[in-house]
Symmetry: C2
Subunit: 352 residues, 2 copies
């Protein structure tokens, strides 16, 4: 399939060395090394001069060689689902931007369809000498992950129940934590739905293995109970639009229907909304109130205008970057924890 | 912020060597190396045995050391916009899955907000010794990119005009190409819009620097002209929902309005649809017909049910993977090209 158009040789700049640059800049070899490490302190003028001369002579430190010496790969791994939904995509995007600013690149490792990790992938992961990795307990446990890492201490995202993280104890492997308090925002959602007259709730679940989903359901049940409201009807979901649509149809056509639906995520809520409007001829919020979870960008689109529970993405990314940097500064420190709150974003699907 | 819970030491497996594994498996050192290289041929039973023993003794080849020897990093770079829209996110997701199957990991490099590349990032990129990189001419030219790569021959995604790629010639640097023929699907869209009665068209543009957008507008103008239809009204867009919404409002409130709107991407089309329905009280398709571009997953959501131009994502990813693998097999071959067609996906926003 070659078109024979670009037959010329690539012009390669000469491979200058760190010594060349040191000599030309009138600095030590160590200073040259420090100039390329954003975390090493060096006078600004010195760094600028070294970088300028390096550019002129075409010198770049070889990351692979540096990695063997400094044992820093500048790579942060993220374990992501086999198919990423808008929420994961948003998170990967924001995290990549923040990490790039700090001098790291993001490496994505995908799970299998059953959410477990392929063992060959873990072997392969170890060879990358990651500086850090963001993981989820339903995909891989801390001990297994520790075996797949060389030096890095992983960060687990967890979903505390009443303030207690389910994976904080019982592990021999050290890991840092990002705890997400989903309960707060869910509590605000139920309060609003009740205030607007909901008496019969349904919970459209997410993927069964998702710990975030398991905790969302538990929190919803507890909050309804605390408010003297009946248990929710549980309808089957998997975080996708299509399953949400069919489950909602089943609920109203084969079941008794409800007046309030809490969806495990926004994408599912869109399926609920479309089922109610286009297939069942029901109005939102007048006939049925709908709440989602995530506050992805699409939640604000007028066709959905979804009231939903938000985990602030900027806060989340900043917390993850803090954990990564603090851990790299203190490799042997005890486990570190950052906590995120959730809150309700009120739009038009509950009431006005 | 440590909670003092995980105070135990990490248990590290002994760092066994390739020689250890070779001895235990009764094979040569070379065979051990081949076992970890998915592209090297080795009897399945031999490979399985070596991998099993390696796992038992905790041996993994150090990617950094291997990279220096084999000069293969198993990393594929992708240049992506500073903020990724659903289209880029879908593509990154599908590409990561396909590359992981082939033994590569995806490294994302983000542009600046003006779509250019930060020079320090390019310096940093070179250190990663990428096996391949997927790039776009509006972000970085082939010569600049070649200077930021060690061995890799990049792949440029291009948008031919009437079958001729605008960046095929005039460059001293070798690069492979993925040519996307946007014209075909756009032609089908205009045909359908005209068949359903459109006489006055608008084009909601994408980001001004986007070569994909520039070619979409050119193709639309040419197709309208060929069909004896008037030039399109151009309304300002940038691939986002919000700008599409306000531009559509301006078009109908301050301008004369049109009966057919072609949006540079699906996300913009959603903004157009919501402006027409929720702000202008117009019906789609009865009053205004709307067509998008991309066929992202959300285009099929019932609230939008968008007729749109599709670049088949699976085809695109397979073509990119083919280019990557063929180039790695043939480092000095002349430039290689894969071509993708587009086609119209008919849903409900043009007519029934």
């Amino acid at each position: 399939m070659s078109d024979g158009l670009n037959m010329k040789e690539i012009k390669r700049p000469e491979r200058a060395t760190a010594d060349t640059v040191a000599k030309m800049a009138g600095v030590s070899r160590v200073a040259v090394s420090r100039a390329f490490n954003p975390h090493a302190s060096l006078k600004k003028e010195k760094r600028d001069l070294i970088l300028k001369i390096s550019k002129d002579v075409g010198y770049t430190p070889d990351m692979a060689a540096r990695a063997l010496v400094t044992r820093r790969s500048h790579l942060v791994g993220v374990i992501v689902p086999d198919v990423c939904s808008p929420w994961e995509s948003q998170e990967i995007d924001a995290l990549t931007t923040a990490l790039q600013t700090e001098g790291f690149a993001t490496l994505l490792f995908k799970t299998r369809t059953d959410q477990s990790m392929d063992e060959r992938l873990l072997t392969y992961m170890k060879g990358f000498n990651l500086d850090s990795i963001i993981a989820f307990a339903e995909n891989i446990g801390p001990e297994t992950l520790a075996n797949a890492l060389d030096r890095a201490v992983p960060i687990y995202v967890t979903y505390p129940q009443n303030g207690v993280s389910p994976i904080a104890s019982g592990s021999t492997a050290v890991f840092d934590r990002l705890d997400v308090n989903q309960q707060t925002g869910i509590g605000q959602a139920v309060a609003l739905m009740q205030a607007y007259g909901c008496t019969k709730f349904a919970y459209l679940g997410g993927a069964k293995t998702s710990l975030a989903n398991i905790e969302r359901e538990r929190a919803l049940r507890q909050i309804l109970k605390d408010r003297g409201l009946p248990d929710p009807v549980i309808i089957a979901g998997d975080f996708t639009y299509e399953t949400a649509l069919t489950s909602t149809l089943d609920l109203f056509k084969m079941g008794e229907g409800v007046d309030g639906i809490f969806s495990a995520n926004d994408v599912g809520a869109f399926g609920v909304i479309d089922a109610l409007r286009f297939k069942l001829g029901l109005r939102i919020p007048e006939d049925v109130k709908v709440v989602g979870f995530d506050d992805i960008a699409q939640a604000g689109w007028l066709s959905y205008n979804l009231t939903t529970v938000k985990i602030d993405l900027d806060d989340r990314v900043r917390a993850l970057v803090r954990l990564i940097l603090r851990r790299l500064k203190n490799p042997t420190a005890p486990a570190m924890v950052e906590t995120l709150e959730t809150r309700l974003i009120v739009r038009g699907t509950v009431g006005s």
